[in-house]
Symmetry: D2
Subunit: 336 residues, 4 copies
Amino acid sequence: MTRVAIQGATGYTALELMRILLRHPEVQITAITSRSETGHVTSVHPSLAERLDLSFENLSAEQLGDRADVCFCCLPHVASMESVPQLLAAGMKVIDLSADYRLNDPGVYEQWYGHVHTDPTRLGSTVYGLPELFGDRIPGEELIANPGCYTSASILALAPLVMNAWVSPKGIIIDAKSGVSGAGRSPKTNLLYCECNENISAYGVGTHRHQPEIEQVLSKISDASVDVIFTPHLTPMDRGILATIYAYPNGKASDEKWLTCMRHFYSDKPFVRVVEHLPKTKDVAYTNYCDITVRVVKDRVIVLAALDNLIKGAAGVAVQNFNLMCGYPEARALIV
Amino acid sequence: MTRVAIQGATGYTALELMRILLRHPEVQITAITSRSETGHVTSVHPSLAERLDLSFENLSAEQLGDRADVCFCCLPHVASMESVPQLLAAGMKVIDLSADYRLNDPGVYEQWYGHVHTDPTRLGSTVYGLPELFGDRIPGEELIANPGCYTSASILALAPLVMNAWVSPKGIIIDAKSGVSGAGRSPKTNLLYCECNENISAYGVGTHRHQPEIEQVLSKISDASVDVIFTPHLTPMDRGILATIYAYPNGKASDEKWLTCMRHFYSDKPFVRVVEHLPKTKDVAYTNYCDITVRVVKDRVIVLAALDNLIKGAAGVAVQNFNLMCGYPEARALIV
Amino acid sequence: MTRVAIQGATGYTALELMRILLRHPEVQITAITSRSETGHVTSVHPSLAERLDLSFENLSAEQLGDRADVCFCCLPHVASMESVPQLLAAGMKVIDLSADYRLNDPGVYEQWYGHVHTDPTRLGSTVYGLPELFGDRIPGEELIANPGCYTSASILALAPLVMNAWVSPKGIIIDAKSGVSGAGRSPKTNLLYCECNENISAYGVGTHRHQPEIEQVLSKISDASVDVIFTPHLTPMDRGILATIYAYPNGKASDEKWLTCMRHFYSDKPFVRVVEHLPKTKDVAYTNYCDITVRVVKDRVIVLAALDNLIKGAAGVAVQNFNLMCGYPEARALIV
Amino acid sequence: MTRVAIQGATGYTALELMRILLRHPEVQITAITSRSETGHVTSVHPSLAERLDLSFENLSAEQLGDRADVCFCCLPHVASMESVPQLLAAGMKVIDLSADYRLNDPGVYEQWYGHVHTDPTRLGSTVYGLPELFGDRIPGEELIANPGCYTSASILALAPLVMNAWVSPKGIIIDAKSGVSGAGRSPKTNLLYCECNENISAYGVGTHRHQPEIEQVLSKISDASVDVIFTPHLTPMDRGILATIYAYPNGKASDEKWLTCMRHFYSDKPFVRVVEHLPKTKDVAYTNYCDITVRVVKDRVIVLAALDNLIKGAAGVAVQNFNLMCGYPEARALIV
């Protein structure tokens, strides 16, 4: 039995995390923190009524360390890099769901996030928690940087292609569509129901912070300088990411050949499903699956990947990382 | 040509008002105000690009009076009762879209709105701007209290029944469903896309402020003490109100008989459509129509009414009132 | 281990059933049938990729009996009453999700469903599968009539009140709102996205078949002739039912008193949560919970109940019944 | 006054057409046809209650010719090419909203639509009704091929770039997102509310029929062989198209420079708004506007265009064509 704390537990990702951990037979949730809320968890998350009998607390890292063996850190970036060293010092394993430990280069972090990184040593050495690629490095780690939602979809779709140099590392376009929950739960005008409903638009064109994250990981696994254009879109639905990816293949191959290669690459990965049909976000909603397919159109290969941004894109992969860190079966509590 | 100003022009109702007024051949919009915004109207309402070339200004009533003949006041309640006397003093006709001048009794106002009314004299004498009932009193008025969205649907559905004592004034239930735009454009957590989407719930059960407004108007027109239970629900859609109303009939009649009586009552009203089918909010969306039907079930008569909360429930009826105040044809700019 | 078949497995309820049964540790799904489809289950339900490796088959009752111990019958009404006797004759236990065995009186069935009932003997004696009320009768039964979605919400909300005569059995109004999945998966124009989206309307006013079902069950448990007016509404969301119920209390009591009585009634029922806040369908979506609260408004008591029409209103309660029939813990596979 | 008929008037585009034509001061709608419906227009389109007092009729071209001067043909493809020659022979001007007269080459038509074209002479000579590009050829024409919804968005976004050779004609990617109304009103399972809601997916990857239409028009105006990859996506909303377009620029320029060039190109076009912000479909919903912007990202130029698929993408542009054919001001009835 592992005692687990969730730091910053008022958002959508934390809620999904609690739902998953509540069905994990080896987990006991022992603390949930918030700097603003002090009531019972159901005051913010009424869906947890009769499921979890905890209240939000404003706990120090040390107090958390007394209560828990593992901490899921759901703080926003910057806040996270302040907390994580303390959580580690308090003796906990940490899965950080913010962006603070995903990039390796403090300069790149500062450029994209506008803050000097205050924990640069760990920044460079933290394992990137995408188990399908780095699963063998996760067991025994103290700190895992949980990947971004767009990045997981994009990297899972492209990894087999760039690692094997089946496509050019240049000129890749990732046109991604996300449900609104990916934008968090802060009361902002642009996230109001009447702003998002019956509406689709691009945002952060050329400036979204998941772009350098995608490029870093794909470059590392391919020994090439992978260069992508990443365009996210806000889509009128709660959850789901669909990435439509365009790349230049190195050589000709049929759809079927591409699918076979993809299937081979992911043959022992329980949460990537290489499918023949065009993936739909609804087919993976509320699951930890990422559905991927490939199509050849003219001189381009198009890879389409769908996942649930809150599960496979956040809370689900976090538990997948947790399972690997703690020696539990990778899929525990994740297939329902 | 009438010069028109809109006070408090950043919200959804003000946007609809501008859209309608822009197609009104006798109207020129000359000023739009905001206490927080100072940019071009398109900075808040990009849909008005190349339609309206005005910027938000923080204008005094006197300044507004120099610019406009009529002011649509879209301020929140309390702010409205502070502004309206000044607007009138500055020589303008005013259509107040807040709740501040709808109730006649300052005591009732204070009880439901939690504020002492600072303009109690006008409170009692202001005409309630539901043209189907009070249209003959509107021409020549200086101030009109624009009705609430739920109240318009409820009153239009019930007016023929209570005025003619076809139903008992007691035991009436109004179960109403509204799109989210009725809750305004303030950045509140409960109005976020992911809170409202895929969700329906009641709110303000027994405490919603439209209940006394409905009772006041229905009592006045029926010379009876009409008593309703009003239950609003937040429905996952942008716009639309459906009121499902249950009353005890005085005597038996067929559906067809009820429909005939309703049709007769509204025969010369251009915006009430008595229909045989069950009304849908989508059929009246983006229009100034209210669709109504009646069904007899067991010992009860059920009246169903649908309207667009932003148009017939707010901006559309405001222009209808404006037309009547200023001597223009009632339907001008309202049938598209 | 119990071998389970699903008859008529192409619809939304069958899909939910498969999802739940796949996580049931004592169940093996051994057959899924369809009269129209012959492909792999994923050709209709791609979300089951890598979860269930079965194809649709057109199997006789006898063939099913060779494969399975229990059959969930998801056929439409009329088709169901033709199949169920054969399934029973083939030695299976049956949970019938259609309406065919819910009513006790063949005359009432014929009146509301327009068909002579061809299995009238069983009609009168089949246990109504609402475990919160009839759970002690379910173990050992061969056939259970799974309740309707609206009826479960309505009956769970009203049962404590009518059983204890806390409210009058007369004059009860049930104003219910349902997500679109309740209408099934047949390609009908009125169920198209563009017809349902941004739209709410009533349907089947005074004529919906769940009305006699509600009255029958509430009358039976209360020894009174319960009389309800039931008005369903189609709401633009996938799933969820909210019932807003108005009844005349026998005597005065506070909200708190009502809640205490409700809590007492459901104290040992794992899937009914009596809550203080107004229930939202989103809080129970994808769960087997029914959230209920009570408010006193004027001379009326208002009960509000929310459940997921596909889970607690169909597939979830079906598995709850299955668990009780087969001697498994009632909540097995149902709390995730 | 022009007498207008609508052939095939039961769909969403025809409904929008009727709404627009009803506010056109020089139009009288004199006939609406259907092969399946015979009732009053409100039996299919209840939103037109008290707006249009016509019934669906199954009229021959000759009968239509007696009633109307202009016919909007809203039949499906193939049916359209059978009807159009007859409508013209009956003396009417025709605006064909199907795809049948959009392509110039019968061979290309046959390849993409799977039917031999039976009116190949007209196919090659019919004017493509995109008024922003071919407006000077429309007056006096007898037959106009109304463009596709995706194509209008794509072509308006790309026309200035390819005509001026600001971008390479090769390697263009059009990633387009459409609301569900673009798929029509036929009762198909994949268009059901519960299939489309909370879901986004690509479809017709590499095979959508708007791809050759886009290439044909862009090639014609640019004297180059324009080559695009077009990927449509079904988005959970009623209406709206967003096209996100990636092209290789010939030479470097800033965002501002691109915008200036676009603004210059469309300076006298009333329905194209070149905007600085990223376009949203909601800003153009229910209007005849197309909002366009440009961004330079790395070595690529990204053009984003939004329009309402039913208005600027179908019924609105059809009326724009009608106005030009008949000598009315281009924007009549189209700016509200």
